[in-house]
């Protein structure tokens, strides 16, 4: 298994420049950058929609938008954040990092890689364009439950096809990741010697390939129910609206772990680096990740405790859901044990990782509360759920992405960001994220349903706080963009090994890393 680029062939080709370079590129770093920039753009668009939501919810009464449009914002916000911001961010990181971490010249299937990316902007253009339709965009929530979603206007087939495309892109991307990891490792790098980020991505890719087609199946049935008279989701024809929910969540729950496992991998990379100590319990980290992934396929109905499942089903899904706390706990404990007796410093990536551990765990705790079926009868579809998942998604997954960008930026660009600004960014982000999402626990418990554009007056105070927090959080991210551009304007000064405690093959490469990562495969022992 030797890897060597054919230099002769490289010289025969002339590299296209300008836009054509990006359209035709098969290079993992180019494609990684495309993914990351795209993700940032989508984060801002999705965030902008969140700000519309928060602005409307600043006080009771309708001030800005009509209810129908509000629902479109909620739906689009979620679809864009999940499929446009978070997943592409992780794929971008995978593209940049996997070849460097396993000692390969590039991804295994570079042309496919180009395709996975270029589907995205078009699919999102199609999705977002529905907002400008006369009948409006999708408004049934990102979960697209029928019969409500069947009432959608002309947007519906566009939304469904764009989801098909996004799914296809994810599947192709995941296939590429698996092929790369299984087939392109440097000689000597056995599976149990792979960097943990590579492991988490391997498992995530498996989840993607197993889960995304199921979503495709579900929405295909929606389409035929709407346009071709099938009755999968209609009781009168022998179907059941709840059937859709089962299929959707069979995808949807693994999906949320798709959004967190790579984040776990990032945190497991950064914590040891800044603790200057090896990751505690590497093996158990791998097993924990795998168990979370496997368990994720048998817990889906915890999103549907209120649909009136038979008692046995409710009990089964409660137990399996609670079980996930065990492997997740192992991860948290391992991180803490990694820090224990380390020699820690607190650069920006580390700060974000530490905040991740705490805030993700808080989100996990509320998840555990939601898993308790009788209590979920109260929590379900309230802002308590919204608080839960934003805690795991924003200071969880998004923080991990930000941490990863700070951590690897010097490797990618050869340039170091401004540490002071990075810390300011961290503190602003962390303070505002809590101001935004913590009060949602309170209003949720006090009875505020989610997906409503207007609320009873007793919820006013905390909603105001949350809205202020959201705008603060948004502003803080403008600082992030500023930091990125400022870094890019710096001269190349970063050391090959930018962090004292960093480990892994990528740090043996020069900074910025060469276009084709490893010409000759490194030896790993």
């Amino acid at each position: 298994m030797s890897t060597n680029i054919d230099h002769i062939k490289e010289e025969h080709h002339h590299q296209p420049s300008g836009l054509m370079r990006w359209i035709t590129t098969t290079n993992h770093k180019d494609i990684g950058s495309l993914y990351l920039w795209f993700s940032l753009l989508m984060f801002f668009i999705g965030g902008f929609m969140a700000l519309i939501i928060r602005a409307e919810l600043f006080q009771p009464g309708l001030q800005l938008v009509v209810p129908g449009f509000f629902n479109q914002m909620t739906t689009m916000h979620a679809l864009i954040m999940i499929f446009g911001a978070l997943m592409p961010a992780f794929v971008g990181l995978a593209n940049w990092q996997l070849p460097m971490m396993i000692g390969a010249p590039d991804m295994a299937l570079p042309r496919l890689n180009n395709w996975s990316f270029w589907i995205l902007p078009f699919a999102f253009a199609m999705l977002i364009s529905t907002l400008f339709f006369e009948s409006g965009g999708p408004a049934a929530g990102w979960t697209l439950y029928p019969p409500l979603s069947l009432q959608g206007g002309n947007s519906m087939p566009f939304v469904i096809f764009s989801l098909h495309l996004l799914g296809a892109s994810s599947i192709l991307g995941a296939i590429n990741v698996i092929a790369t990891i299984l087939n392109m490792r440097a000689p000597g790098m056995t599976l149990m010697k792979m960097p943990i980020f590579v492991w988490t991505w391997l498992i995530t890719a498996f989840l993607l390939i197993a889960a995304m087609p199921v979503l495709a199946g579900a929405i295909t049935m929606l389409l035929t129910d709407r346009f071709y008279g099938t009755s999968f989701f209609t009781a009168a024809g022998g179907g059941d609206p709840v059937l859709f929910q089962h299929i959707f969540w069979f995808f949807g729950h693994p999906e949320v772990y798709i959004l967190i496992l790579p984040a776990f991998g990032i945190i497991s990379t950064i914590i040891p680096a800044f603790s200057r100590k090896k990751l505690f319990g590497y093996d158990s980290m791998v097993y924990a990740t795998a168990s979370i992934a496997l368990l994720s396929f048998i817990v889906w109905a915890h999103h549907m405790f209120t649909v009136g499942m038979p008692l046995a089903g409710e009990i089964f899904f409660m137990f399996t859901t609670m079980l996930i706390a065990v492997p997740t706990g192992v991860k948290v404990f391992n991180w803490v044990a990694t820090m224990w007796k380390g020699s820690m410093t607190f650069e920006t990536p580390m700060l974000f990782s530490l905040a991740f551990i705490i805030l993700f765990t808080i989100g996990g705790f509320s998840g555990l509360m939601l898993a308790i079926t009788p209590a979920d009868f109260q929590y379900h579809d309230t802002y308590f759920v919204v608080a839960h998942f934003h805690y795991v998604l924003v200071p969880g997954a998004i923080f991990a992405v930000i941490a990863a960008v700070y951590y690897w930026l010097p490797k990618w660009t050869g340039k170091m960001y401004n540490e002071t600004l990075g810390k300011v960014h961290f503190w602003m982000t962390t303070v505002f994220v809590n101001i935004t999402f913590f009060p949602m626990h309170f209003v949720g418990l006090a009875g505020m349903p989610r997906r409503i554009p207007d609320y009873a007056v007793q919820f006013t105070d905390f909603n105001m706080i949350a809205s202020v927090g959201a705008f603060g959080f948004g502003l803080s991210q403008l600082l992030f963009v500023y930091i990125l551009f400022q870094t890019l304007r710096q001269p190349v000064t970063a050391a090959d090994k930018s962090w004292e405690g960093a480990e892994g093959l990528e740090w043996t490469l020069p900074s910025p890393a060469p276009y084709h990562s490893f010409d000759t495969p490194p030896k790993v022992d």
Partner: protein
């Protein structure tokens, strides 16, 4: 050949494929909304086929030019294997729907288990007998496609085609060109015969049995599963045809013929899915 890993250079095909896909889907969505005819859809489809042709020709040329080594070959294998796995999961969603309807929703509507009130209050006279088009008798009475007729024949056809493609593979490995070509021809023919039978079966169902997509949950699951499968058989048969032409041109060697194997895998996958269909859709 090993020792030099081939990293392809820039390519225009994926981007063009995306454009074609977009045209196709936008056309289809407009068509579904009753806002246009299928012209745009077919334009997109045509473009897509062209792109695929171009893309694959390019890959084939590279492969024939000896640019690929064992490692690339292995990447293709992993890629194809996981792609087939994703297809399995796609089918799983539809099989899941069938299972749910038969084991859960219909019994509930008929008053089983937690469905007592559902039945009493909403669908008082409904009884659960499979096949069912639901308590509202959607689409009117219909007759079920019997497993014994064409479906059984189709099962045999597909099973034989699985054998012929394996036989062809042996021919390829042992350098028996005639065996290879005739095995492939037989497989392709069987594939298209299968599709032809199915088309006939559909028209029979629509015209004589009153069994339609709109025939409640039975019609829905029946057409979704068999239709989706039939679509895959068609794809597989087309891919086999391409492989056949490549074989006639003398493309593969007895050691290096992943293109052949990938399509053969795909064909076996389609075969296995059919067995599931035959048992759960037609038979039980």
């Amino acid at each position: 050949m090993s020792g030099s890993y081939y990293v392809p250079h820039e390519t225009k095909w994926p981007f063009l494929a995306t454009l074609a896909l977009m045209i196709m889907f936008i056309g289809l969505a407009n068509y579904m909304n009753d806002e246009s005819t299928l012209t745009l859809t077919f334009t997109g489809l045509g473009l897509l086929l062209l792109v695929i042709y171009g893309w694959f020709s390019y890959v084939v040329r590279e492969s024939e030019g000896g640019l690929y080594d064992d490692q690339v070959d292995m990447s293709f294998r992993w890629g194809m294997a996981w792609f087939i796995f994703s297809e399995v999961m796609f089918f799983a969603a539809f099989f899941g729907a069938l299972y749910y309807a038969r084991e859960l929703s219909l019994p509930w509507l008929a008053g089983d288990g937690s469905g007592v009130s559902t039945n009493q209050e909403l669908w008082p006279s409904f009884e659960n007998v499979w096949p069912s088009n639901g308590p509202a008798n959607y689409g009117g009475d219909f007759i079920v496609m019997k497993a014994a007729g064409i479906p059984a024949l189709n099962t045999i056809i597909l099973l034989i085609s699985g054998l012929t493609v394996t036989w062809a593979h042996h021919g390829l490995k042992e350098g028996k060109r005639n065996q290879l070509i005739s095995g492939l021809v037989a497989t392709v023919l069987l594939g298209f015969i299968f599709v032809g039978f199915q088309a006939y079966e559909y028209s029979h169902a629509y015209n004589d049995l009153n069994l339609k997509m709109t025939s409640g949950i039975y019609g829905s699951t029946f057409y979704m599963l068999t239709g989706f499968h039939g679509f895959h058989v068609t794809l597989g048969a087309i891919m086999l045809t391409v492989i056949l032409f490549r074989c006639i041109r003398g493309h593969f060697t007895n050691e290096n013929h992943f293109g052949f194997e990938a399509v053969a895998w795909y064909w076996h996958f389609v075969d296995v899915v059919w067995l599931g269909l035959f048992v759960f859709v037609y038979w039980l």
